[in-house]
Symmetry: C2
């Protein structure tokens, strides 16, 4: 077995946009296992927008990422050594082992995976945290019903793509918002959304109005700013907004809700949520998502870069929307 | 009986601020009653911020007030003639008869009042629509619990004063926001709030921070704009915002939520509501409010002007915060 492995730590906190300087690649020794521990070799690392919040010292919903510590992140991989009676070498597992080729766990938060019908990296996407965020927002906040119109921003992304497909499966009219013609084509043709608006085309409000002739009953919001305002402008009475992300503001830009007046006029409800605080929903949600992915009723797309050293660049691309689908780093 | 009565109609729609020109005082004949109708002499007319929205042609939560029709408004008064078997002359009633000395009703929406322990005009305030708005926001949206900190804007007003007192009664720390020292003194000394911030003093954010050392768990929002942003800045995780009004924007000013980022970071829920859409709650709410007012556990203050002709000026004052407590027009 290797005596060292590579990891990426937070070298400095970003001022505005994230830069390569904020990260540092290190070689560290593979630790000796203590009783009750398992050693895991990570096969895929998940890159997600929430990581941007953790990089700042400013108050966020979770404690900040420590400087000089391994960057936080979800991983899937394989147990390579175990001194824990619940885990055996060869077990495929999902955990939060961070931006690293290997990691040690005491089993807390580790999930055993069955890859018979679901590919390993899908447990970082549609059958993992992003899928659960979609499931929770749709089922617990938006409570979208057949015949209603649903808007999903960042529609080609890991969360938005699942949110929209789940809404379609329950009979909603689903309109996505994404950046660029290629992504919009994919959202409509591959994911089956009824329409998708290219926000980069510069006619967001008018295009969204055209695509939502009966107004909007529920919004799955990943972006904020102009995207959210445009969707709010189309709301019907009692529309619900699941606020999952504000990626438009992660670089420091202001993301005001200028259409706040509509919250009152249309009696809207907006709820911000963090999916890791609703673990009670995960067993049911993951069971449903797993079945839908295994049956091909939910499809997804991945942007995969190779090697741990590619993670910072891929992460910066994700924050700028350069990825297309779930952003992963393949480690092995 | 008089052969004519006076009413005020909407003469023109305001452009920005409401002006006296937007109203017209008229004398109209007292109509002959048809079978199933009652004639009511109004004793008090209620003036409320929501009327501003109705004066505009723009989309609002209710249909616009028609031009040349009697201005909408809640009233309390007495049945003076009846051809309806449920109503007798002398009955004291609450209805929506508008800015008028008299009115005809078929009984729909008419409520019989018992003034043995509650003064007649209180049914337009703490035991009427404003009280119910406070009750609903607190009980159904904010769900404030003992020990939590609650912020109430327009704290000396008809709605805010009741919202704050209800929150105090259930053991919350209650911090008001009001305009001017006199109102703030009243909110603390007469209404029993723990603190009240004078937004006109120009230190809203700092003063609110000082008054909420444990953060804010729930907000009853009547104003919007800077008031709401300041309260949001103090929120704890999972705080709830009942959005009842946006009076800061009723003259046309923008009322963005600049602290929208906190909706996600603190996993907030904001719900806009219109109390007349929740009539199922009124029997319980009015029973509770009536008992609290009769027992003196909820107090209130009224600004009363005399005569129907005083209504436009009083209404313009209300929109500018010149009233102090529930704004009424005494008609008889």
């Amino acid at each position: 077995m290797a005596e060292t492995y590579q990891r990426i730590v937070l070298a400095s906190r970003p001022r505005g946009a994230v830069t390569a300087d904020n990260f540092r690649l290190e070689s560290v020794p593979v630790p000796a296992l203590e009783e009750g521990q398992v050693l895991i070799r990570n096969h895929y690392l998940s890159l997600d927008p929430y990581m941007r919040g953790r990089m700042s010292a400013a108050k966020s919903y979770a404690s900040s990422q420590q400087l000089d510590a391994t960057m936080i992140g979800g991983t899937v991989g394989e147990v390579v050594a175990s001194r824990h009676r619940s885990w055996q070498p060869g077990d495929q597992v999902n955990g939060m082992l961070g931006w690293a080729e290997m990691g040690v766990s005491d089993g807390a938060g580790l999930r055993k995976l069955d890859t018979a019908r679901i590919p390993l990296p899908a447990f970082l996407g549609a059958v993992g945290m992003p899928g659960m965020a979609a499931w929770y927002g749709l089922n617990r906040i938006m409570q979208a019903r057949a015949g209603e119109t649903v808007v999903v921003s960042a529609a080609s992304g890991a969360v938005g793509s699942v949110a929209g497909q789940l809404a379609r499966l329950r009979g909603c009219r689903v309109v996505g918002i994404a950046g660029g013609e290629e992504k919009c084509d994919y959202v409509v043709k591959a994911l089956g959304f009824d329409a998708c608006i290219d926000y980069k085309a510069g006619r967001l409000e008018a295009d969204l109005a055209d695509a939502t002739p009966d107004g909007v009953d529920a919004i799955f919001e990943n972006v904020g700013g102009a995207c959210l305002d445009a969707a709010l402008a189309r709301t019907n009475a009692f529309a619900r907004v699941a606020l999952c992300g504000l990626i438009a503001g992660y670089g420091g830009a202001a993301v005001p809700i200028n259409n706040a007046r509509l919250l009152l006029i249309n009696r809207l409800t907006i709820s911000g949520f963090i999916i890791t605080e609703h673990m009670d929903c995960w067993p049911q949600g993951l069971r449903e998502l797993g079945a839908l992915v295994a049956d091909g009723r939910i499809t997804y797309r991945e942007s995969v870069t190779e090697g741990l050293a590619s993670a910072p660049e891929a992460f910066m691309g994700l924050l700028q929307g350069r990825n297309f689908g779930k952003q992963l780093v393949k480690l092995i």
